[in-house]
């Protein structure tokens, strides 16, 4: 009888099957990272092989190995460009969040504000930002202000919409609960509506951060003397295609890393929100 508990546990998981299960669990955890990486490696190898086999000229399609060596040759300046783009991206993202949150609250607080603001929002979205950027440069000069503004214009719309959707998605019963406790409008906002909207806010942030990278590059196309967007323009002007390709790859990596950072922040700070989203899927 003293070994009763041991017996039970070994009955549930026979010793010879335990390692297999551990391997399976490890694989389940690593799969989301390993699989895409494997795909990238295979594609890269295929690309390299194709370029060599068909002898494609490097200004049309440089081989990955060439892109790597060319980028590494100027890695000092490349790091500078990357940081410049990162700064514009984060500033634009920050401004988007700072504007979107109160804007969404205002829109959902009163139909009058919603009616007044919504058409304006849609207009800002239907204007192509690439067309707007040069005009902004005329007004604000070819500096960081213009670039951050372009980034903001690209990135804030999905955020406003997601947050507003979340604020309006609060079940009426929860609002009624607040009302029955004589909650003030501020308490209703901070204790019920905003917490409820957190998963929606994060859906918006994930869209917004990726859009911010795009916005920063658009800004750099028209108004910059540094940044990866500028680097792409400069490199293509001189047919240095490997550099342009390298900059594009760094940009995608930046987008992926920033996106994952948002996912991570959500998981750490709002675990219930992250769970909510996986269960909703």
């Amino acid at each position: 009888m003293p070994n009763a508990s041991v017996d039970i546990s070994s009955a549930a998981a026979p010793p010879e099957r335990r390692p297999a299960r551990r391997v399976r669990r490890l694989w389940a955890g690593a799969r989301p990272v390993v699989l895409p990486l494997a795909v990238v490696v295979v594609l890269g190898l295929a690309w390299e092989a194709a370029v060599r086999f068909f002898a494609i000229p490097e200004f049309l399609l440089p081989a990955p190995s060439l892109i790597y060596s060319e980028i590494m040759a100027i890695r000092g300046p490349i790091v500078g460009h990357t940081l410049a783009t990162l700064q514009t991206t984060m500033l634009g993202f920050g401004v988007s969040l700072a504007v979107s949150l109160p804007l969404a609250v205002a829109i959902t607080a009163s139909p009058a504000i919603a009616n007044a603001v919504y058409p304006l929002l849609v207009v800002t979205q239907s204007v192509p930002k690439v067309a707007l950027a040069p005009i902004l440069v005329v007004v604000f000069g070819a500096g960081e202000t213009s670039r951050v503004l372009v980034t903001f214009l690209v990135a804030f719309f999905p955020l406003v919409i997601s947050i507003a959707t979340g604020l309006l998605a609060v079940p009426p019963e929860l609002v009624e609960l607040g009302r029955s406790l004589k909650a003030t409008r501020l308490q209703e906002l901070f204790r019920i509506r905003l917490p409820y909207a957190v998963p929606f806010v994060f859906s918006g942030l994930k869209l917004s951060i990726t859009f911010s990278v795009i916005g920063a590059v658009v800004g750099e196309f028209v108004a910059a003397e540094r940044g990866l967007g500028y680097q792409i323009l400069a490199a293509t002007a001189f047919f240095r295609t490997p550099i342009a390709f390298g900059a594009v790859i760094i940009l995608s990596a930046m987008g992926i890393i920033l996106f994952q950072a948002v996912v991570l922040i959500e998981r750490i700070c709002f675990p219930w929100s992250a769970q909510e989203e996986t269960s909703r899927r």
Partner: protein, 253 residues
């Protein structure tokens, strides 16, 4: 203490037509009285509770508490809604403490009280769990604790035991009676179970549907403390018969 005087409530449907939910309801509830409400689905039970809670205004008539007309929600009322309505982002304990977070009065003593309430409801050890990790019946029990945490003078309960199994239901009924005896309060209790209504209440309000109105008010003369042994008593049977009579007469007509 609670006075429902000629109250009617008519809703406006999406298409603009009028939906009479409650017609000419009058009812006087004494201080610390336990009143149960039974009636078919859609007869306006939840509507009546919402009106008393001050969550909506009557179309006609008035609700008065201690002679004062109810025009907005009051802090001395605790409500158990028909659905648990827990905050999905807060632990069970924070959910139970939510009324104090809004009304003020959140301290260690309150936390201890909330823990004791949860233990009473059979939820000891679930304080740090999220609502999604609880079954429907457990969520409803947590919602009952939430309604009790600020020790309100008036308790409005809308089918609080609806999501519970028969055994837990009987257990919770007796627990509710115990709490009510220890800390007397005025209780309005909506239920679909005739035996439950008779066992718990001093008086049972029987409602009929379309339009919702009060068909009868049945006084229950069973001695307290109540127990399920009384179910076989003549008084219990007589009350249950009288209530069922109203419901079935309506069906036959």
């Amino acid at each position: 203490m609670i006075e429902v005087a000629g109250v009617a409530k008519t809703f406006e449907a999406q298409d603009g037509s009028a939906v009479p939910a409650l017609a000419d309801a009058s009812l006087a509830i004494a201080r610390d009285e336990f009143v149960a409400i039974v009636g078919p689905s859609g007869c306006g039970k939840s509507t009546l509770l919402r009106l008393v809670a001050g969550l909506m205004r009557p179309t006609r008539g008035a609700i008065r508490i201690d002679g004062e007309e109810v025009t907005e929600p009051r802090a001395d009322i605790g409500i158990v809604f028909q659905a648990p309505t827990l905050l999905p982002w807060a632990t069970v304990l924070s959910n139970v403490l939510f009324p104090l977070r809004i009304l003020g009065g959140l301290d260690d003593a309150a936390e201890a009280r909330a823990g004791a309430l949860l233990a009473l409801a059979g939820l000891a050890g679930f304080e740090r769990k999220m609502p999604r990790e609880l079954s429907g019946g457990m969520q409803q029990r947590a919602a009952i604790c939430r309604a009790l945490v600020h020790d309100p003078r008036i308790l409005l309960m809308d089918e609080p035991f609806g999501a519970l199994d028969a055994l837990t239901r009987e257990e919770m009924s007796l627990e509710l009676l115990r709490i009510w005896t220890e800390r007397p309060k005025t209780i309005l209790f909506v239920t679909h179970s005739v035996p439950e209504a008779v066992l718990l209440a001093d008086r049972v309000v029987v409602m009929s549907a379309r339009p919702g109105r009060i068909a009868d008010i049945v006084p229950v003369a069973l001695p307290r403390p109540r127990s399920f042994d009384q179910e076989s008593s003549a008084e219990f049977q007589a009350c249950a018969q009288r209530i069922r009579g109203h419901i079935f007469r309506r069906r036959a007509a």
